[in-house]
């Protein structure tokens, strides 16, 4: 990394303002001048010694006291060199504008729209800078600015669909939507005069049986063929990032459950790992094993859910019920482990909440004995079915190059032949102590992504089995009294523990003043938490890099030219969950 930083400083002496190297967390951030962003970004993307081809996320932080109020943070990632870099640029309040990097990383389009929506920073050169999570006509400002109250501005009373007694009912109109409102969803700006074409705009969702939640997509159709597909997100936006700024670190864990509600454990894990990285604490070995086992159980649950819904989207009904049968067994085990089935809230900062009992280990082993047979059973229904192959092969193809450029991760990226799995690249938990493989596809079509997820379920079962065999004895939560509440029996007996307990539960744990990005391989892809801490008990800024949101950025690219029926399979192949996408 050092040579690259030096190159950067000599090549762009006026652009690079400062370099902050965080050796404890092995992270480097480079502060650059906002007006030089494009040239630095272009260099970092293209130069053979840099090759930051993957844009993980774009985040924005508000520092109201500073002269240059807003900070835009680009989280770059280099797949070939396996390293990460943060680019930071400040923009002033009176003219919060910065150049758009959509020309360098295609995935930046949605990420920049989110920054614009949340922080009000405009990106010059952005092709379609509209609000993305908030409603299009939202006129109350930019929610993630520090001067925006967390409880909102009483906007709820103005929702025009909530009937109010003192108002006359709104006149219902059946008239056609004005043409200018449709323009955002059209592929071409103006209809070509020479040849008259009749494209149909079809509004799919947010109420639709198979959009996997409240997702709305506006399709421009030529017959049944898709000319343009415009996702309209934000129907499930709950402002988790804003909420987090008002919560102590421990209180945020339940909120992460509700991000990807199908795989709550994976979100818990990603979040507590980010906080632990911030705090710099190490986790006892048994806890690491349990975390890995539970994360892989969750991966199986998530993939079973995905398989069922994807099959249902394509019309194979039975697979859905069969996968739910196995999912139920795993959910029962979760219930045994932590009392909940869906929103689990099981991981703790520094460890886990409760220990595996021998009975649970036995049940899990029994499940693992039968599970490969069950996977074969699903395969028997679809894997060699001509209709299934016809519906998945060569559908929604995305090349490796495009997948990287759009910032895809997880099975979507691996389906295109890029063996990027954080569990292997930046091992955490005990993934480096067990033997397993990363399945990689070739063609980048729906079938490859299907195959990868099937194979991942088998690999997960393999990981769990090895972990169960190696499971050591010991504590399940780290011993770091100033951050982690000491056990109750100590609190009752010794003074120091009581003091720590009192401080943590009255004030919350206070991490050092720092910022960190921590990525975890969730079943859907790279789930990252970027936390900026100002040394207080609450995060100054918490940014969630959710794979579903980033994948939706590639939706139009993947959908164009396919048929309406394929749209549904693309939702399925992303394994999209709106709770995570809209946050």
């Amino acid at each position: 990394m050092q040579p690259l930083i030096e190159t950067l400083m000599t090549r762009f002496p006026r652009a690079v303002l400062s370099v902050e190297a965080d050796t404890a967390r092995a992270e480097v951030s480079v502060r650059i001048a906002a007006d030089r962003l494009i040239e630095v970004a272009r260099f970092l993307h293209d130069a053979p010694e840099a090759l930051f081809d993957h844009l993980s996320d774009i985040c924005s932080v508000d520092y109201p006291e500073d002269r240059q109020r807003f900070e835009v943070v680009y989280l770059l990632h280099s797949l070939p060199y396996r390293r990460r870099l943060r680019l930071k640029a400040r923009v002033p309040e009176d003219n919060p504008a910065i150049a758009s990097v959509t020309g360098i990383w295609k995935g930046a389009e949605f990420l920049e729209r989110e920054v614009y929506d949340m922080m009000g920073i405009t990106f010059s050169g952005h092709p379609d800078l509209r609000r993305i999570l908030m409603p299009e006509d939202y006129a109350e400002g930019f929610p993630l600015r520090k001067d925006f109250p967390a409880e909102g501005r009483g906007w709820r009373s103005q929702f025009d669909f909530i009937p109010r007694l003192d108002e006359a009912p709104v006149e219902q109109t059946d008239s056609e939507i004005p043409e200018r409102d449709k323009q955002a969803f059209r592929a071409e700006a103006a209809p070509s005069s020479s040849r008259r074409r009749e494209e149909l705009l079809l509004n799919m969702g947010p109420q639709h049986p198979s959009t996997h939640g409240v997702l709305r997509v506006v399709l421009e159709l030529d017959g049944e063929r898709i000319v343009k597909a415009t996702p309209d997100l934000g129907y499930l936006h709950r402002g988790v990032e804003k909420l987090s700024e008002g919560l102590a670190y421990m209180q945020i864990i339940p909120h992460t459950d509700r991000l990807d509600y199908v795989c709550a454990m994976a979100n818990n894990y990603a979040y507590v790992r980010a906080v632990e990285k911030l705090l710099g604490i190490t986790i006892p070995e048994r806890a690491e094993y349990i975390r890995t086992i539970v994360a892989e159980m969750q991966r199986i649950v998530g993939h079973l859910f995905w398989l069922g819904t994807q099959a249902l989207d394509i019309g194979a009904m039975t697979v859905f019920f069969w996968t739910f049968r196995e999912r139920e067994v795993l959910l029962d085990m979760f219930e045994k482990l932590c009392g909940a089935r869906l929103t689990l809230n099981y991981y703790r900062i520094g460890g886990v909440d409760s220990d595996f009992t021998p009975d649970l280990v036995l049940r899990l082993k029994t499940f693992l004995d039968t599970f490969p047979e069950k996977v074969k059973e699903y395969d028997s229904l679809i894997a060699s079915n001509r209709i299934w192959l016809g519906r998945t092969k060569n559908v929604a193809v995305i090349s490796a190059e495009d997948a990287i450029s759009f910032g895809c991760t997880g099975p979507v990226l691996r389906g295109s032949g890029v063996a990027y799995d954080i569990r292997k690249e930046e091992p955490y938990g005990v993934y480096d102590k067990v033997d397993w493989e990363v399945p990689v596809g070739k063609n980048g079509d729906t079938y490859d992504r299907y195959w990868i997820r099937m194979e991942e379920m088998r690999q997960s079962a393999r990981i769990i089995r090895q972990c169960l065999d190696q499971l050591p004895a010991g504590p399940i939560i780290a011993d770091a009294p100033q951050y982690i509440p000491p056990p109750k029996q100590h609190v009752m007996r010794d003074m120091e523990s009581l003091i720590h307990h009192f401080i943590i539960f009255t004030q919350g744990l206070k991490p050092p003043k720092a910022e960190t990005y921590c990525a975890t391989e969730a079943p859907k892809g790279e789930l990252g938490f970027f936390i900026v801490s100002d040394g207080s008990a609450r995060p100054y800024r918490l940014k969630i890099r959710s794979p579903s949101f980033v994948h939706m950025g590639a939706f139009d690219h993947m959908a164009r030219g396919y048929l309406i029926s394929d749209i549904i399979t693309i939702f399925g192949t992303y394994d999209i969950v709106m709770g995570e996408c809209d946050r």
Binding site: D174, L200, L202, N203, H208, P209, S210, E224, A311, L312, D313, I314, G315, A316, M317, T318, F321, W322, R325, L381, I382, N385, I387, W388, G390, R391, L563, I564, S565, D566, I567, I568
Partner: protein, 356 residues
């Protein structure tokens, strides 16, 4: 009391009986489908209404009957109301020419009554095909009149699908017509008596096995069932052409779909599987000396064949994913049609070389 009014009375009685049986079958089917699917999918199916849920169809019917009838804004009210009727009537009218049992004629007040077929017209199968095509209008009109884009797409898909697969159904049975030398379903069935080796699906000199397969697949497509349920593809078009329908109008479409299933099953049984003929020569009841009740055995065989066919519909639904629109078209025109045409050529040559 003229002969004409007597004929009318007899016909009406027959129609009432057949309609009763068909409606009962439809009711049984709605439950049977859910039960069979349930068992195949490791669940119970309906269990709440009555013992093992057997009263579920009645509850469903009552619910649909009392539901609010909604006509969407901007819909063409006349067409919107006409469409379900146009879908249902052709589905039911086809049963007029299906022979459910042997043609035991008897005299009643001087007129001849054929108890197991309402009307033995000499172009029976043509009549069924003609009315089945009209059924497609119901779907198309329903999709168009709803003033909804999903319905419209469903209706358009249906138009394309029905036209493509009607053709295959028609061509698939031409082989049978060549062998039987008649368009009357009664004559076709009678020609297949004397054991299962006389059924047209196996019969020499030209076994219609390929035609049978083409017929089965095309029949599934024509009735809009999985894997060809594109007009109502739930995961894409919400409910396709009947997205906007509710209450009794929806029930009409629903009944039409199931009645169509029963109809194509009956036609398949009559055309390819020997109709009411037992798979062995004669009937057992005849052999044991109860010849006057042989019709019961014949009707039982017909029922078994039709129900086996209906079971196949459920089985397909539990097993297969849905085809895509372009794949459906390709399959119909590039695979089914050549097979059906080839079958006609082979059958004609065989019949010419080995005349019976």
């Amino acid at each position: 009391m003229t002969e004409l009014s007597l004929r009318l009375a007899v016909s009406l009685a027959q129609i009432a009986a057949v309609m009763g049986v068909v409606m009962l079958t439809v009711m049984i089917l709605t439950l049977a489908e859910r039960k069979v699917l349930g068992w195949m999918q490791d669940r119970m199916g309906p269990m709440e209404v009555g013992p093992y849920g057997i009263l579920q169809p009645i509850a469903d019917g009552l619910k649909l009957f009392f539901k609010e009838d909604i006509v969407p804004a901007g819909a063409n009210k006349f067409m919107f109301s006409l469409a379900p009727i146009l879908a249902m009537v052709p589905a039911l009218i086809g049963f007029a020419v299906i022979p459910f049992g042997p043609s035991n004629k008897f005299e009643l007040f001087g007129i001849t009554v054929e108890p197991f077929v309402i009307s033995d017209i000499n172009i029976g199968i043509l009549y069924i095909l003609a009315f089945a095509s009209i059924g497609a209008y119901g779907i198309i009109l329903g999709g168009w009149a709803s003033n909804s884009k999903y319905s419209l797409l469903g209706g358009l898909r249906s138009a394309a699908q029905v036209i493509s697969y009607e053709l295959n159904v028609g061509l698939a049975i031409v082989g049978v017509l060549i062998l039987a030398g008649s368009l009357s379903l009664v004559k076709i069935t009678e020609a297949q008596s004397g054991g299962f080796w006389h059924w047209y699906v196996f019969a020499l000199p030209a076994p219609q096995i390929f035609a049978f397969v083409v017929y089965v697949i095309s029949a599934v497509a024509e009735t809009n069932r999985v894997p060809f349920d594109l007009p109502e593809a739930e995961s894409e078009l919400v409910a396709g052409f009947f997205t906007e329908y509710s209450g009794m109008r929806f029930a009409f479409f629903f009944i039409a779909e199931y009645a169509n299933m029963v109809l194509v099953s009956c036609v398949a049984a009559a055309m390819f599987l020997g109709g009411w003929n037992a798979p062995y020569p004669g009937t057992i009841l005849e052999h044991v000396g109860l010849g006057q009740f042989a019709w019961a055995e014949n009707i039982a065989w017909f029922t078994v064949k039709a129900y086996l066919f209906l079971f196949l519909f459920f089985w397909l639904r539990a097993t297969l994913p849905r085809l895509r629109y372009d794949q459906l078209m390709k399959f119909g025109w590039k695979v089914m049609l050549p097979i059906a045409l080839g079958n006609i050529v082979v059958t004609s040559i065989a019949v010419y070389l080995f005349p019976r």
